[in-house]
Amino acid sequence: MAELTSRQGGRGGRMTVLKPQVFAWVQDYGVYAAVLALLLFNVLFTPHFLDASNFRTQLVQVTPIVIISLGMALVIGTQGIDLSVGSVMALAAALTVLYLGYGWLPALIVAVIGGAVAGAAGGALVAYVGVQPIVATLALLVGVRGLANVLVPQLVEFRNPGLIALGSSSVAGLPVIVLIAAALTVIVLFVVRRTTFGRQVVAIGGNRSASELSGLPVKRVLLTVYVISGLLAALAGVLATARLQASDPTSLGQFIELSAITAVVVGGTPLTGGRIRVLSTVMGALLMQLLAATLIKHNLPQSWTQMVQAVIILAAVYATRKRETR
């Protein structure tokens, strides 16, 4: 008698997909749109912007940040953060010039190993001792920069043709270092999307204790992620050194950790972990590079540059933020 309805409906029959298309698009591709907008602005208002040499300049300059943000994205995916990348760059610069006597390739290898060791130190503190990533890598930020300066107390110029060529030569019109960054992007993309390791990284970032109970090698994965970050930072350090034609452990990479984190976050990877967006991270880095270039080319004073950057970061992250369903 009190029966009102008893409509028959198949299981899941009402699960129609109703995506709020526009929001989703902005959230996923907002950073691409922002890059396009900035490009358009420059085409209209910046002299000589469309020259091939300009794009070359921007790509070359953004390379270290791109490489570092790839590692940073992995670390952030595990709900961590790596503040030590700038200092690791400096360490790599120091090691490169110390071992340059053996040829540029051995020097590069030593530098990258050094970066991996620094990363392993941070990773071990985070994974095995349980120190919070921000402090563990802060200690490294201070200590590793010091170490780099102990090794090479002052800027050293070098004339090794191999290393200089690495920094300044091109293949098919594209600078070698840009090609390296592109290759690394593809590799990291593959690792994140297609490998067991990549899935484990995001799972750990999404819920560490669940991952532990699921038998994932949590500590090993965490350690590896920081090692990769250190490795990539070191590689970025070597490339930057090659480009500068001098090893400058004092100032190389200072505050680059903030740029890298910004690139990752502007690209839509949440700092809360559990998700990694590789291509958007690269776009995020490009966005910040183009922004800096625009401000410099229009000769704005430092005060303006910083304020405009602040606004653009906020706007970009606002657009890509995760919306609450309310």
């Binding site: 490294l140 200590g143 010091g146 102990v150 984190i261 700092l271 005060s303 304020m307 602040a310 606002y318």
Partner: protein, 317 residues
């Protein structure tokens, strides 16, 4: 006391204990370490960072982070020095008002849009420094403190310790009461511990978050103003990397970066610990700048590892 309580005490006061240990070792190793003059210099110079760390403690317990404090510190100093030409009141209120508003804006953005505090306050770090450069002709102008009363606030002494030390102690006490003994404090812990649950339990999440960032902004501005009073000028090259020092101090003090746990005493001990480490390095007096950095890095790592092991002893992983 059973074992659980012992280890809880260990974790809460780990920083203080490491601090005590370092002080003892320092006094034994260096004659000039435990002198009143040296102690005073550590305490006085730590007081500004301590004020900032108090605000940072609230922010971190609430589950957030505030990277803008270094910039607010220097902005506060410049504004205070600028304002001092109009008297004590302006010198104090101008930086507080501006830094409070910056904190308010950051808090509103964080609480209303759900954007990550790290990134919002990173933008704050850049924007506020830009603002500071804008009002000081790209950093070229250093305003001098004109008002004597204001300068006294930073330089006056009682028992060999300058006023900022007492102000810091007072602020720390107020902050402790606020955190432990008021509804606001409980709300801060609750949203840091589990924001969703806190919301469902009726905690005014948005408002609490906004207050926390306003507080942090106000305290950073106040620290900047007091420092300007001490230095008698609005120095524009201060505060770079200060946010990291503050975060390090708070975390060393046992506050969890993930939010929901921690306290003021630990943060103050953390600040002093950083100061003592610097002072010990200075005592050696012959390390090159590069070695000094290595030593600070290693010290920092050791302290956080010790902290961590103490809390692990509690076995509540």
């Amino acid at each position: 006391m059973n074992r659980e309580q012992v280890s809880r005490v260990l974790q809460q006061h780990g920083a203080s204990m490491v601090l005590g240990l370092l002080v003892i070792v320092g006094s034994l190793a260096f004659d000039s370490f435990a002198t009143p003059g040296n102690a005073a210099s550590v305490v006085v110079s730590s007081s500004f960072l301590a004020i900032i760390a108090i605000g940072m403690t609230f922010v971190i317990i609430s589950g957030g982070i505030d990277l803008s404090v270094g910039s607010l510190f220097v902005l506060g100093g410049v504004l205070a020095a600028y304002g001092s030409q109009y008297g004590l009141l302006v010198a104090l209120l101008l930086p507080l008002a501006v830094c409070g508003v910056v904190g308010l804006l950051q808090g509103l953005v964080i609480a209303r849009t759900g954007m990550a505090p790290f990134i919002v306050t990173l933008a704050g770090l850049l924007g506020v420094r830009g603002l500071m450069l804008a009002i000081s002709d790209e950093g070229a102008v250093t305003y001098l403190v004109k008002d004597r009363a204001f300068a006294t606030l930073g330089q006056g002494e009682i028992l060999g310790l300058s006023y900022p030390v007492y102000i810091t102690v007072a602020l720390a006490l107020v902050a402790m009461v606020l955190l432990q003994r008021t509804g606001f404090g409980q709300n801060v812990y609750a949203i840091g511990g589990n924001e969703q649950a806190a919301a469902l339990m009726g905690v005014p999440v948005t408002r609490t978050k906004v207050y926390v960032y306003v507080m942090s902004g106000l305290l950073a501005g106040l620290a900047g103003a007091l420092n300007a009073a001490r230095l008698s000028s609005g120095v524009t090259i201060l505060g770079i990397g200060l946010e990291l020092d503050a975060i390090a101090a708070v975390v060393i003090g046992g506050t969890l970066l993930t939010g929901g746990a921690g306290g003021i005493t630990g943060s103050v001990a953390g600040v002093l610990l950083l100061g003592v480490i610097q002072s010990l390095i200075n005592q050696v007096g012959s390390l090159t700048s590069a070695f000094q950095q290595v030593v600070s890095g290693v010290f920092l790592a050791l302290v956080v590892v010790a902290q961590r092991l103490l809390s692990k002893a509690q076995r509540l992983t």
